[in-house]
């Protein structure tokens, strides 16, 4: 393992993050606060409680997931797309490193940023609502796994994308709808039966459900299934990345 290389990539990527630290910190605080004003105050005044949890607290896990997923994807996809775009990728390709090291560096940095934002949102939420976390270890595990797997997914998008529009396309057309329809702001059991069935094809449901379980002990699907889903998603992304580097698809001509 070329640990120096992993570290070099990680540090380089994180320095981009630290350059815009204030922005990285302020924007999730503001957007979370807005969600609480809109969802918490407007809807929460009509929906008092969901399965015994106040609506304000109920949406916290979904809110965190929403930001963490989109941040992980955009950080990781941009992180690898940018060198491709400006040509600095020549250095990665000519360095004595393998795919795993490149991935660990880029994905590690993207996941760290997403994790940071997740924690900022958690902290901001605690200012608005009473939060209890029943299974803190599981909560952290879910959070970290989500950061990692969606960063892997973002990495794939970054390699696939041929221009900036494509870079935005998947997050906009696929991920955001899946997250919004994935029970982030409601319980699946609140839906009509047909939509409940459809929802179970949405992978995000399993993540949000598992994550919410770690807070309140409430889940739409069994917790083991949630863990399986996220492990499966991670493996799938890793497999695709392995194939990408093996064939040089979209990077090495």
């Amino acid at each position: 393992m070329n640990w120096q290389a992993i570290r070099a990539i990680y540090v380089f990527e994180m320095s981009r993050f630290f350059r815009t630290l204030l922005q990285s910190f302020v924007s999730p605080v503001i957007s979370t606060s807005l969600y609480f004003v809109v969802f918490g105050a407007a809807i929460g005044s009509r929906i008092d409680q969901v399965e015994g949890v106040s609506y304000g607290a109920f949406i916290v896990p979904g809110l965190i997931m929403l930001s963490v997923m989109t941040q992980a994807i955009s950080n990781a996809s941009f992180g690898i797309y940018f060198p491709k775009f400006i040509g600095t990728i020549y250095e990665l390709l000519s360095a004595p490193i393998n795919f795993l090291e490149i991935v660990l560096g880029y994905v590690g940095a993207a996941a760290t940023k997403a994790l940071f934002i997740g924690i900022v949102i958690l902290g901001t939420s605690a200012l608005f609502v009473d939060l209890t976390i029943q299974h803190p270890v599981a909560m952290l595990l879910f959070l970290v796994l989500t950061c990692l797997s969606f960063s892997l997914f973002g990495f794939i998008i970054g390699i696939w994308a041929g221009n900036f529009e494509q870079l935005q396309l998947i997050p906009l057309l696929v991920v955001t709808p899946l997250v919004f329809l994935g029970g982030s702001f409601y319980s699946i059991s609140m839906l009509p039966p047909i939509w409940q069935t459809i929802s179970f094809f949405n992978p995000v449901v399993y993540l949000v459900s598992g994550f919410r379980w770690s807070f309140f002990g409430l889940a739409d699907v069994p917790i083991a299934l949630s863990l399986l889903a996220i492990a499966g998603f991670t493996m799938l992304c890793l497999g695709i990345i392995w194939w990408i580097f093996k064939t040089g698809w979209r990077i090495r001509q």
Partner: protein, 310 residues
């Protein structure tokens, strides 16, 4: 064993274009090899294939005995590349990009070395500047600093002096000379033939994806080198007098100058006879000049010969 061994390498791009057509070349440890060729000859493609940026379609390349595809770690850790295009992250600071390069190649932090490199390239006072705040020539120096940061044993310079002022060009050749002294193998491409003539040990000529020739610079210059003798006359002539007619002389400058081309490697160059004959023909000499053929003439000759053959 050669430091870099390129054996019958073909490279076809996705669009089917074959940029390398069976290129073979051995590069010896510690030498400076100049790779010459017109635009689109395949110089960058060859370098990219050695460095791992593109994969050869067929054929084999080793660096320091390591195959560049199967033993890429061993091969690539020996190689530094200064690319032809200026590829740098505009928002990064100089020192950070150079540190990044060193780390990427698995080398432990060594800020003293980086300082030495940056000073040598006159970049030390710009080390905290962002790349976008540098001039074009400075950016090229950053590319060189990045390549040197990981202490390569083989250095590829892909047109390092394109768009570079005289002073930097001189600095650059000083650095190259220093690296050669340290035993680094250097391969450079250039369109300035006088540059190759000045610093290379060997010259390779590539065109249309084929290596046309590899030779010691001095041997090449004498083997293909021809000299011209220019005879300036006191009175211009319109045609050659009879005894000189079949000596292959050219009349230039409105009959003021006779040009005689001869091979310096031959025992008898025929100069003495020629001069006697010129006097015997009643022509009065005013001045004599000789001129050695430059590499450029040789190079243009080679490439146009291939063009004619095609």
């Amino acid at each position: 064993m050669p430091m870099v061994q390129i054996s019958n390498v073909h490279k076809a791009f996705a669009d089917g274009f074959e940029a390398l057509k069976g290129a073979s070349l051995d590069i010896h440890e510690g030498e400076i090899l100049a790779l010459l060729g017109p635009n689109g000859a395949g110089k960058t493609t060859l370098i990219s294939t050695i460095c791992g940026i593109t994969q050869p379609t067929s054929g084999a390349i080793t660096v320091g005995g390591h195959d560049v595809v199967t033993e890429y770690r061993g091969a690539r850790s020996l190689v530094g590349l200064v690319p032809q295009e200026i590829n740098l992250e505009p928002f990064e600071r100089v020192i950070n990009t150079v540190r990044f390069s060193r780390g990427l190649f698995g080398k432990p932090k060594d800020d003293a070395l980086l300082e030495r490199i940056l000073r040598q390239l006159s970049l030390w006072d710009k080390k905290d500047n962002r790349i976008m705040e540098l001039s074009g020539g400075m950016k090229r120096r950053v590319l060189i600093a990045k390549a040197l940061a990981h202490e390569p044993r083989v250095l590829f310079l892909d047109e390092p002096t394109a768009g570079v002022d005289v002073e930097l060009r001189r600095d650059m050749w000083d650095i190259v000379a220093g690296l050669k002294e340290a035993g680094v193998t250097i391969i450079l491409t250039t369109h300035y033939i006088e540059e190759a003539e000045a610093i290379a040990d060997r010259i390779a000529v590539i065109n249309k994806g084929e290596i046309l020739l590899v030779e010691e610079k001095t041997a090449l210059m004498t083997r293909l080198g021809q000299k011209e003798l220019r005879i300036e006359l006191h009175d211009p002539v319109t045609e050659l007098p009879a005894p000189l007619a079949d000596r292959g002389l050219r009349i230039e400058e409105d009959g003021q100058v006779l040009v005689y081309t001869y091979d310096t490697t031959q025992d008898r160059t025929g100069i003495a006879t020629l001069i006697r004959e010129v006097s015997e023909a009643g022509l009065v000499l005013r001045d004599l000049q000789t001129r050695q053929n430059s590499l450029e003439d040789i190079f243009v000759g080679l490439v146009s010969k291939q063009e004619d053959a095609a």
